[in-house]
């Protein structure tokens, strides 16, 4: 099977599994439509034909009809068994990962996705870049509550569970951008836990991978930090224009005093920022909740430096 162009119901399908899923979907859709049409026809036809005209009278004693009853028991049974096997087949295909699949680690946390390419050592946030026509296996787990990795364009979905691994795989068949949603309710910003899957050509992918694993070499530290501010999703909580978000704004914080929720204070310097990024739960800024995820292990040394340099520039 292959990709599909989509229909009234299904969106464009850009993975090898999409065709199988749509076949099952359409099979059920068409048979249901026929059954539904029969039901509605029966209702309307009888309603008109046997509407009450004139005086009420006794009606015939039709209590059952074995042949008819067998028919409407057996035919649905056969149909559902077929549907079961179709659905199960395609499901098996989704569950059994091809041997040569490229592995990417996926971490869901409130409220963003991070992706790690173990071989290249690259990481991205909310943007999964994959090569076309290559099976990709996602090994997924969560940092906090249950999330669900959902790409409608690929017809795949899998819950991402804390302290457990789950997996899913796909093979993209069309270059382009696909929506990525979190489909399991996970709190305040559940509906903002969305991202993109970018399917690119093999060559582009190699280039991209190389570029993103080189830790911003050839860029100034603060430029690199500006890039990370977006790509590591700091911007989902911290603004740079002074407006309030889930976290304090970065604008002009460097060199200022902050007050914590236990009343103590500290001065925002390099060390403090480093600690705030790597161990955000040690001190909670007054008026905010302890929701900032720890970036320990997600950021390299140079990346932390770059972010600090960037925050310093935000007067």
């Amino acid at each position: 099977m292959d990709d599909t162009t989509g229909s009234l119901f299904m969106p464009f399908g850009g993975s090898t599994i999409a065709g199988d899923v749509d076949t099952v979907f359409n099979f059920i859709l068409y048979t249901s439509t026929i059954i539904f049409a029969l039901v509605v026809f029966g209702i309307i036809f009888f309603s008109i034909r046997y509407r009450r005209r004139g005086k009420l009278a006794l009606t015939p004693d039709i209590s059952h009809n074995t042949k008819l009853e067998i028919v409407w028991t057996v035919i649905p049974t056969i149909l559902v068994v077929i549907v079961f096997f179709m659905g199960f087949n395609a499901y098996l295909k989704m569950s059994v990962v091809p041997k040569d699949a490229m592995e990417i680690k996926v971490t869901g946390q409130k409220w963003f996705w991070s992706f790690e390419y173990p071989e290249a050592g690259a990481t991205t946030v909310n943007e999964l870049v994959v090569p076309i026509d290559k099976p990709v296996k996602l090994l997924m787990s969560s940092q906090d509550v249950i999330h669900s990795f959902f790409v409608p364009g690929f017809r795949i979905k899998q819950d991402v569970i804390p302290n457990r691994y789950t997996m899913i795989w796909f093979q993209a068949t069309k270059i382009g951008e696909y929506d990525l949603f979190c489909a399991e309710y996970c709190g305040t910003k559940h509906s903002e836990m969305i991202g993109k899957v970018k399917v690119v050509s093999e060559r582009e992918f190699e280039n991209w991978l190389e570029e993103s694993s080189m830790s911003g070499e050839g860029m100034s530290l603060s430029d690199f930090g500006a890039k990370l501010y977006i790509s590591k999703a700091c911007n989902t909580c911290h603004s740079i224009d002074g407006s309030a978000g889930n976290g304090p704004t970065f604008k002009g914080i460097f060199g200022k005093q902050v007050t914590f929720d236990d009343g103590s204070q500290a001065m925002v310097d390099e060390n403090y920022i480093r600690k705030s990024i790597l161990n955000p739960q040690t001190n909670i800024v007054a008026g905010y909740q302890n929701i900032m995820p720890t970036f320990q292990g997600l950021l390299k040394e140079r990346e932390v430096d770059a972010l600090i340099a960037y925050i310093k520039t935000l007067e």
């Binding site: 569950s95 059994v96 090994l139 302290n163 457990r164 691994y165 997996m167």
Partner: protein, 134 residues
Amino acid sequence: MKAKASDHSAHILPLRIYLGVGFALFILTGITVMISFVDLGGWNVTVALAVASIKAALVVLFFMHLLYDNKIYLTIFLTAIGFLAILIIFTMFDTMERGRLYPEKAKPIKPGAAIYEREDSLSSRSVDTTKTDH
């Protein structure tokens, strides 16, 4: 009227049945405790549950009169057991089989709970409880 209104055409069990059943329950309890000190390999569980089931049957059949009463009550009781079995068995179709395709899906990533990693509780801890030691 009086005779019909009487509560128990249902019959009254002789005293020795109650005492006998009680005695049997005592003996069975003794047996099951003693067996638990003997290592039977995997069989300990089976034996313990078998004895418990016999005891349960005694209580239900005699103390609760199911042996003599209308069989509908027995049906209700067995229904309860049946649905309980469904609950446990069908859940185990999941919990025991998660690793069938990929073993890494079967186990937690970190087997130990977070409480054992907090510094305060770790310092007071003499044995490392986060690892299975068998």
